[in-house]
């Protein structure tokens, strides 16, 4: 049995309440390497809470998140000690924020932003770190001459591509994305979509992407979860959920898209 036959991530009964509000009712799904899962729904549907619990940004109230390590054993991310979890996060996970300024360090250079992740993962040789940073600038289509510039002066699209490079340079196996194309102009979005699609395929990434943009979900994801009021109301193949939605809320969501 190859690694592809086993899920990378198994989420069971993951739940979160804020005070009396059940922001995320017990939710489960599986994710395989090379697979992009889109989580869609309106504001307040619980999709960002779900992502935050997966990322460990907020503590979940219950459930389990089993992650399969490279050697094959599974660990429950919710049961791990914080230090151990952080170590794993540095090498195995990526998190792409909607606002690149939340995921970048604006006061260090573009090359530094990429190199920092490598140093955190144990790289020490300056020349190799710089070489890898240059290779990643190429990959995300940022001119090499910008390596020593501060990302503060970059356009929104460039900042987002730099954030992606910073996340992927350590070859994580799981990447969580929160509305990665959200704040960008449409023309910039298209380029980013193409880039993301290529990188996902080349690096065999597993991706959970939260988006309210169904067109982005259609082009980028293989499977989709539709969330409403803290729970998954429908899930399945992306094109089936969009072309043949079963739940009344999914039908409303799909029928509300403006066709260009």
């Amino acid at each position: 049995m190859s690694a592809h036959d086993l899920p990378l991530l198994e989420v069971r009964d993951l739940a979160k309440s804020y005070g009396g509000l059940q922001a995320l009712k017990p939710t489960g799904f599986e994710l395989w390497p090379g697979e992009v899962l889109a989580i869609v729904g309106e504001s307040g549907s619980g999709k960002t809470t779900l992502l935050s619990c997966l990322a460990g940004h907020v503590p979940a109230d219950g459930g389990s998140v089993r992650f399969r390590l490279r050697e094959g054993t599974g660990v429950d991310l919710l049961q791990m000690a914080e230090a151990e979890r952080r170590l794993l996060a540095r090498t195995e996970f990526g998190f792409v924020h909607q606002n690149p300024r939340d995921g970048l360090r604006l006061n260090i250079s573009a090359g530094g932003n990429i190199g920092e992740r490598l140093m955190a993962a144990g790289w020490r040789h300056f020349g190799r770190i710089r070489g890898e940073a240059l290779a990643w600038l190429d990959r995300v289509e940022i001119d090499r001459s910008r390596i020593d510039d501060l990302p503060r002066g970059f356009s929104g699209g460039m900042q987002q591509r730099l954030q992606i490079a910073r996340n992927l340079v350590t070859r994580p196996r799981l990447v969580l994305m929160d509305e990665p194309t959200g704040g960008l102009d449409v023309s910039v979005q298209a380029r980013l979509l193409d880039l993301l699609r290529r990188l996902v395929a080349e690096l065999d990434l597993a991706v959970v992407i939260v988006t309210h943009d169904l067109a982005v979900a259609r082009l980028l994801s293989h499977r989709m979860l539709v969330m409403r009021q803290g729970q998954v109301v429908e899930q399945g193949l992306t094109d089936r959920v969009l072309d043949d939605p079963q739940h009344p809320y999914s039908q409303l969501l799909v029928s509300s898209i403006l066709a260009a």
Binding site: D194, H222, G236, L237, D244, Q251
Partner: protein, 232 residues
């Protein structure tokens, strides 16, 4: 020869929750089989559900009843109940689809759009692009368009991109939804030739084809779709 694709008693009713739960039955107990080398053409008036059949087989629509068996990696899989991952694997290696719409990431060059299904099967980049170029050439898409995204192409040009995507990998089963609708006689003849080659190699095809000349040239059998009585 054992069939590559078998539909058994497939039924499909759309329930429109936003229209007060109106139920629209489209398919009721449809069955047929397609063997290697066959091109089965679905017949019936507009609205009878021909495209629904193709979408149900491809998995873009679910079905309420019946089985959709496809030969994938030597075994029969029931697509009506298969997990999304299995359906994706079947689409990658076994089941191709020429739809009437071209849905691709904006701003991606045509040659890459065409090479993508090959890359998804693990083919290396250069041979995949080479194969994509040779198909685009064969389908007579002007070379100056190969590095341009297809968004601004004419209907006939987009259709040829769709065809190239479906013929770039030797899918054992192909679904064709009006593959020649926007093509002139010369391009239609090329598509007919491509289809015949694939059939000779043992592909099984299921098609919707109103174009009489193309149908006469490639159909090996017709399956009549009976309308579902909407009153029930």
């Amino acid at each position: 020869m054992q069939p590559s694709l078998i539909a058994e008693g497939i039924g499909k009713t759309f329930t429109l929750h936003l229209q007060g739960g109106v139920r629209l039955p489209v398919l009721a107990g449809l069955g047929f089989a397609v063997r290697p080398g066959e091109c089965v053409v679905l017949e019936g008036p507009s609205g009878v559900g021909k495209s629904t059949v193709l979408r149900a087989i491809y998995g873009s629509y679910g079905v309420d009843r019946g089985r959709i068996l496809i030969r994938h990696d030597g075994a029969m899989i029931d697509l009506a109940t298969a997990a999304p991952r299995q359906i994706l694997a079947v689409r990658r290696r076994t089941l191709g689809y020429v739809s009437q719409f071209l849905r691709v990431v904006p701003r991606v060059p045509t040659v890459e759009v065409v090479a993508e299904p090959l890359l998804a099967t693990g083919c290396a980049r250069e041979p995949a692009l080479e194969r994509a170029r040779s198909l685009l050439a064969r389908l007579r898409l002007p070379e100056r368009l190969w590095d341009v995204p297809p968004a601004t192409f004419s209907g006939g040009e987009q259709q040829r991109v769709n065809l190239a995507r479906a013929f770039v990998h030797p899918y054992p089963v192909l679904l064709l939804d009006e593959p020649t609708a926007s093509l002139d006689a010369k391009n239609r003849a090329i598509v007919v030739e491509l289809v015949r080659e694939r059939l000779a190699e043992g592909a099984a095809m299921l098609a919707i084809l109103h174009d009489r000349q193309a149908r006469d040239a490639i159909a090996t059998r017709m399956v009549e779709l009976a309308g579902v009585d909407r009153a029930t």
